[in-house]
């Protein structure tokens, strides 16, 4: 099946089996391994992408539904010079990545939140990442990072 969609701001087209998930397509057809496999049953969030502006588990999304839509992955949130984007930098500064496996999903959860709510409080950040499991960190430093990125973004735009 031939599918065309927008990936990290660029048009892409792929030929994939109808039942292939977006997760498998990203990793195996497009070679973008930043989006991770954690459970493939929609429970852990390691496969999270931003799909049409919403944080979405790509292991649950079959390719026909992706046609014509907009997808952002961890590979698409860096700064214009190729370096870390602001949420990525905040994760570095706060030690928010330990093993790093939930990190791409968490960063996208942060990005998705800040796009719709630029000034979230900690409770809102907690809720925004509640679909992403982390076994290493206890979540505090992840929340610190997203909170810090939000604050700096607001300062920049004022």
């Amino acid at each position: 099946m031939h599918i065309e969609f927008t990936l990290n701001g660029e048009s892409v087209s792929v030929d994939v089996p109808e039942k292939m998930t977006l997760l498998k397509c990203l990793r195996e057809v497009l070679g973008l391994t930043g989006t991770k496999v954690g459970c493939e049953s929609g429970d852990c969030g390691a496969c999270s992408v931003i799909f049409n502006g919403k944080l979405t588990k790509s292991c649950l999304l079959e390719m026909p539904l992706v046609a014509g839509k907009d997808v952002i992955t961890i590979e698409g949130v860096h700064a214009p010079d190729g370096g870390p984007g602001d949420v990525q930098q905040a994760f570095l500064d706060h030690g928010a990545a330990q093993c790093g496996y939930c990190t791409p999903g968490m960063i996208l959860a942060g990005e998705a939140l800040l796009t719709r709510k630029p000034d979230p409080d900690r409770e809102e950040i907690r809720r925004a990442i509640s679909g992403n499991l982390c076994r290493c960190s206890g979540y505090t430093q992840i929340i610190d990072a997203i909170e810090d990125a939000a604050r700096k973004r607001l300062v920049k735009t004022h």
Partner: protein, 758 residues
């Protein structure tokens, strides 16, 4: 101590976090090579059975399938295991648990590999199932291993402590307390599952990228079961998505399966486990039942303790002989007694096999003693912290195992901090006077712990490290101890930076690679910072010394006259010379700017037969207070806040230590309230994250923590061990808080909400 530039700096960042946040870190499942085959494993659907027929021929008829292996493809049928050799790379003769691997297929696509597995014909004759650890030793229970390591049916191992005559003392005690506590299995639930990528070479050697914790043990095992010289096997560790002790045995099995398939097909083979597969097949934390009997006098002073522990090792022994030993060494808690005895038995069952998991037996030991101590405090009408304080180990005391403590025990300082920070006294009084029938009731509870450092009596505890200063003035550092997120690579880099007097950015830590690193034992027991850290310090001091000689030669002065300011060397004339110049001069002088370092924990000796000796050369200490609110209608426990204090000596990498503390509390929370990996007649009951619930961001309480100021003189810059102990006291602290909130003493973890309903 002189001011430190890098060690302990609050802003020190994780050295390998960049790739993780950019999404470019390549975990095993992200690694792809042209021509790579995909491996899938056939696993037993039943908990106990004889393999009466196994025919793999139809698998070869599936298009794309290139190889199928069984136990016959390995030396000695792939028998392996340590310390007890009772397991197989692929099952031989029998399957012993649901998920036991039987055969493995390599195919051109994952889909073909799955079809290949489904095409394998096999017949299992069901055998009686042993699922209740209490019944394992009964003569009616079938023997689960091929050979029993002891003379009792399904008894895997025993451990004892014999310190004086506790029975006699307890009999004469004015007060006797007993308690029995059960701890259900726990699943590691790392977000990345197990996997290995094996790449064969034309000369018959094989390189394996595997997400296990101990590349040297993996290499030794692969070489042994494949009948290869160790030099023909190379194991490299890529970034690992969490382990917590869980990726050893199953990692070695998976690595050997992939390696064999790779050598057979001449192509790279990658095996990664699916989540449901991993939850069934991978080993768990042991189920344990801990029985305690304590005698105390009228003032509440502890006189003697007798403990009996039963551990479920499941289908294979794995690390249970060692974790059950650590449980034995901690069963009395960090208290002073006149006498003590412990009797521990580990048994085989047809539940999933059990092995290493963060805490390694001390979770269950401390969970039990801290619950009973709390009951005793109440009986003596004493505040739970005050009661602990009068019985806590103090400087110069002997632990219940009989060994004299070599360093000041700091549980008291930890208890003092959490008491003050939490407003303990005020809250204890406030919650004691809540309305009995209130729909939501609060409680605040405490627990403290000690945790033996290093492997202890488990084995020789050493590590090695290598360093090289390159011609381009960069520094290459390598240690075989691994980093699976806990930050060991960063700790080593900071230590080397401090000793060498260079910016950590100048140092590159190589991946653990059996071809270039030197053996350092397994990355377990939270030993990386202390043992690995000291080995890194040792090797770095050697090259630092050579650079000092070179700088002294440039300044024409004595090395003792040198001062370091940032990276520069300053001589008596105060004219600075750069690090680069010194390196160049050292090379001109003909110095070899590379070194090997070694460090070993001071030798201690535990006599397993007599139950006496010195189990550990030192301990770390901690305490936690938990404040909870219980809904009396649903019985659901909400943890509002946790205060945690821990003595880990000098903190080398503060952001990492913070993450380990908070993450440890999260795992303790899950162990206490929401997890519980259960078996029914040997069948695992929870195989996904929906039914096996680990804490999400919404369930985490507010947490305040403190690393107590302390220095272990023998540790690198004064550091001790850190990664494991901090998950240990959350469960009993929560249980004790739940008691204040509900009047219900719980004796099983995770806590059953039904018991807390009004």
């Amino acid at each position: 101590m002189s001011k430190l530039n890098y060690v302990g700096k609050p802003t020190a960042l994780q050295v390998d976090a960049y790739d993780k946040v950019m999404g470019t870190a390549k975990y095993v499942g992200d690694m792809y090579l042209p021509g790579m085959l995909y491996g899938k494993v056939l696993r037993s659907p039943i908990p106990h059975g004889k393999i009466v027929r196994l025919d793999t021929s139809r698998a070869f008829q599936v298009p794309g399938v290139k190889a199928v292996i069984t136990s016959a493809d390995f030396v000695n049928n792939g028998l392996w295991g340590w310390p007890i050799k009772d397991a197989y790379i692929l099952a031989h003769g029998k399957v012993r648990y649901v998920g036991d691997p039987i055969a493995a297929v390599a195919a051109e696509t994952e889909a073909a590999a799955i079809k290949g597995v489904e095409a394998i014909e096999f017949e299992l004759e069901p055998l009686p199932v042993v699922s209740d650890p209490h019944k394992a030793q009964s003569s009616e229970s079938p023997l689960i291993p091929d050979e029993c390591p002891t003379d009792k049916n399904n008894l895997c191992n025993i451990h004892i402590v014999r310190n004086g005559d506790p029975a006699a003392i307890i009999e004469k005690s004015e007060h006797i307390f007993t308690g029995s506590y059960v701890f259900q299995h726990q699943e590691h639930a790392y977000i990345e599952t197990e996997g290995a990528l094996a790449i064969p070479d034309a000369d018959g050697s094989v390189t394996v990228y595997a997400n296990d914790q101990s590349p040297f043990i993996n290499r030794g095992n692969i070489a042994s079961v494949l009948g290869l010289e160790q030099d023909y096997v190379r194991v490299i560790q890529p970034p690992v998505g969490g382990s917590f002790g869980g990726k050893d045995d199953i990692g070695y099995q998976t690595s050997s399966q992939a390696a064999k398939l790779a050598l057979l097909t001449g192509k790279p083979v990658r095996i990664t486990l699916a989540r449901e597969e991993s939850m069934a097949a991978s080993y768990k934390r042991e189920w344990m039942e801990v029985g305690l009997k304590i005698g105390a006098d009228n003032e509440g002073k502890l006189k003697a303790v007798q403990a009996n522990l039963l551990a479920d090792s499941g289908a294979y022994s794995s690390m249970t002989p060692l974790s059950s030993w650590r449980a034995t060494m901690h069963a009395g808690g960090s208290y002073r007694y006149e006498a003590a005895s412990v009797d521990t038995e580990s048994v085989y069952t047809n539940n999933g096999y059990c092995g290493a998991f963060r805490g390694f037996g001390n979770n269950q030991a401390t969970g039990a003693i801290e619950c009973l101590i709390d009951e005793m405090a109440e009986k003596f009408n004493m505040d739970p912290i005050d009661y602990r304080m009068i019985n806590l180990l103090r400087e110069g005391d002997r632990a219940f195992t009989g060994n004299k403590l070599m360093h000041r025990p700091n549980a008291d300082r930890c208890l003092e901090w959490v008491r003050l920070q939490s407003g303990w006294d005020r809250k204890r009084a406030e919650y004691a006077s809540q309305e009995t029938g209130a729909p939501n009731r609060r409680g605040i509870g405490v627990a403290c712990y000690f945790h033996g450092s290093g492997l202890g009596g488990e084995g020789t505890d050493f590590a090695t490290a290598n360093i090289r200063i390159n011609g381009d003035h960069t520094v290459t550092l390598q240690c075989a101890l691994t980093d699976y997120g806990q930050g060991s690579r960063t700790v080593f880099t900071l230590i080397a930076a401090e000793v060498l007097g260079v910016n950590p950015d100048r140092i590159q830590m190589l991946r653990p690679d059996t071809q270039t690193a030197t053996d350092s034992g397994p990355t377990v027991a939270s030993r990386a910072s202390i043992v690995g850290g000291n080995a890194v310090r040792d090797t770095t001091e050697k090259v630092a010394h050579l650079l000092n000689l070179a700088a002294a030669d440039l300044f024409k002065c004595d090395p003792a006259q040198l001062i370091r300011v940032e990276e520069s060397y300053i001589g008596p004339q105060e004219q600075p010379i750069s690090f680069e110049e010194v390196v160049d001069h050292a090379r001109e002088m003909g110095f070899q700017l590379s070194a090997h370092g070694y460090w070993q924990i001071p030798e201690i000796h535990w006599d397993f037969d007599s139950g006496t000796g010195v189990p550990y050369f030192t301990y770390s200490y901690g305490a936690q207070i938990a404040e909870v609110e219980v809904n009396r209608k649903t019985g659901v426990v909400k943890v509002i806040k946790i205060w945690a204090a821990h003595d880990a000596g000098k903190i080398i990498y503060p952001l990492g230590a913070k993450g380990q503390m908070l993450g440890g509390i999260a795992q303790g929370l899950g162990y206490a309230l929401t997890e519980g990996f259960t078996y029914k007649d040997g069948y695992p009951q929870k195989l996904d994250f929906n039914t096996y619930h680990i804490p999400t961001s919404l369930e985490m309480p507010e947490m305040e923590y403190k690393f107590i100021d302390n220095i272990l003189p023998e540790g690198p810059f004064g550091a001790k061990n850190l990664a494991e102990p901090m998950m240990i006291s959350a469960p009993p602290a929560i249980a004790n808080a739940v008691y204040q909130a509900t009047g219900v003493r719980v004796h099983e973890f995770p806590i059953n909400p039904n018991l807390l309903k009004m």
